[in-house]
């Protein structure tokens, strides 16, 4: 039987080698043609066309417009709103990343213990991930709202004046960071939990024999071996935070003024409310560049750390 099988497989191998030769030219390109067409039409073409529009003064609806060279770019760099919005976008990106990673790692360390409530806690922390960011924004709006918000119910219970947290430009960007963290900390937690479970117990046992303290074990074993998970989480959270849109619309709509506007919401307003399509496209290019540079820089920086560790 075995002999027959090996013979058969040998025969198969030679035939398949022959077939490979005759089929080598075929890329089976028709199998990915539909996907390629859709991606070209809805992603690549608009992206390239956006570069072109950024050199025009198009208002978003009329048939005619002029090419204005670098005017929109000059305008963008001279516009104080640009820098406010870039600053907010960086705050959303970097703030959420720091918070999500610290809290996510903390939760993972806690749930890495064999507790009875572990599955329940994990489910509740993860729950917001599957809810629309817009709805999550509204849910927190019910908490922070000036009139009838749950936070002010507590403040008024203690006889203090209600606060308008969402209308205060000094506070509301941080609320947005908090809500975004609350929503997606579950993903960071799960990635860290998987990372922790892949660390062999032998390391900790060896460290115990050497009399290492809990902090030493955390610093010298856990963190270096978690480096791949840290890289993934940081890159993921930075990209997510820099692109933030829905939560801002739900909580503050970018206001008051442009105080809590991110690049995405700013661009949206330029196009739909201010009919400034050429300028909106220019802002889009800046946003793409910022996201690209920061996420690539983070990726390379932490990848190098991984190799060192």
């Amino acid at each position: 039987m075995a002999v027959v099988l090996t013979k058969a497989s040998k025969k198969m191998k030679t035939t398949s080698r022959k077939m490979k030769k005759t089929r080598r030219e075929s890329s089976l390109w028709w199998m990915y043609l539909p996907s390629a067409l859709i991606v070209c039409l809805f992603i690549i073409y608009p992206f390239l066309d956006g570069i072109r529009i950024s050199f025009t003064n198009w208002n978003g609806f009329s048939q005619t417009y002029d090419y204005v060279g670098l005017d929109q770019y000059k305008r963008m760099f001279a516009d104080p709103d640009t820098w406010l919005v870039v600053k907010n976008t960086l705050l959303f990106g970097i703030g959420s990343t720091i918070l999500q990673n610290i809290v996510g790692l903390g939760y993972a360390l806690l749930l890495n213990h064999n507790l009875k409530v572990r599955t329940f806690t994990r489910t509740i922390i993860f729950l917001p991930v599957i809810i629309s960011p817009l709805i999550m924004g509204y849910i927190w709006y019910f908490f922070f709202a000036f009139q009838g918000g749950a936070l002010n119910d507590i403040i008024m219970f203690f006889g203090k004046e209600p606060i308008n947290a969402l209308g205060n430009p000094a506070v509301n960007p941080y609320i947005i960071v908090f809500v975004n963290t609350f929503q997606f900390v579950g993903i960071a937690m799960i990635i860290y939990l998987a990372g922790l479970q892949s660390i062999s117990k032998d390391y900790f046992e060896a460290a115990d024999i050497d009399g290492a303290t809990g902090w030493q074990k955390f610093k010298n074993i856990t963190i270096p071996l978690l480096m791949p998970s840290i890289t993934i989480n940081i890159v993921l959270n930075i990209i997510g935070g820099l692109k933030l849109f829905d939560v801002i619309v739900a909580l503050t709509n970018g206001g008051p003024g442009n105080a809590s506007q991110s690049m995405s919401t700013f661009m949206y307003n330029l196009y739909f409310s201010r009919q400034d399509a050429g300028y909106a496209a220019t802002q889009g290019i800046l946003m793409a560049l910022i996201i690209l540079v920061i996420s690539m820089a983070a990726l390379f920086y932490f990848k190098r750390k991984e190799v060192e560790a």
């Binding site: 990915y32 629309s132 820099l242 909106a280 290019i285 793409a288 690209l292």
Partner: protein, 276 residues
Amino acid sequence: MGQLSSRTKWLLTALALLITAFHLIPFYILITTSLKKTGDFTSKWSFPDYFDTENFALAWEHANLGNAFVNTAIITILSAVLLIFFGSMSAYALARRTTKLNKYMYFLFVGVMVIPPLTALVPLYRLVVDIGLMNTHLVAILNNVAAFMPLTIFLYAGFIRSTIPKELEEAAKLDGASTLGVFFKVVFPLLKPITATVLIISSVYIWNDYQFAIFFLQDSSVQTLTVALAGFFGQNVSQLNLVAAAALMASLPMVIVFLFLQRFFIEGLAAGSVKG
């Protein structure tokens, strides 16, 4: 980790419960808010002493949620089906035939992932108006398929390369099956685990999508849940109880599916984001 003393275990359990309670706060407030009648200004931390479902009936009707549910379901299901069908097929060709053209195409598909979709908003909107697809299910479906195609191909191609033995297909080929026949009869059934991941990721994100839906689906007849809810919020800022009822109803289906299939959801969403 090592053995914990029972005292430490109790402390950690208490801490875990405290964190859980904190994470439940917004949902608790959502529920109490949605149950209060208009004009009931009692604290949002207490349940009303009556039971009234009028908010839900009013919100359902005024936010046009029934219609929005149907629209969202159509768009989500068709997008996911197209993504799985075309994505798996594309990945199969790209993973199995390493010709020069395919290497370039794979690089192109995966490279597209670095373009943040929203940055091309202005030309995309113009394109959709030009081809006359504004306010149609089709444009939302095509756009979602385009947005998730790179990740889908990436996930399928990785899975095919690492887990599907080539010999299997070659044996089927010898039996005279066509390329498509081999793919759908032999390969596709073996892709089940990664198909589940793709299905979960795309359904969750497409069901919850707001930033594209708000651009392309402004007409009330084609509105999805998020767009309908945003419009309803705009009209009822002073009646948060109605908005809360609408928000609760809009998120309930996904929450229920999640609670039943949570292991798959947690694994799928984490795997998808790690590899993406």
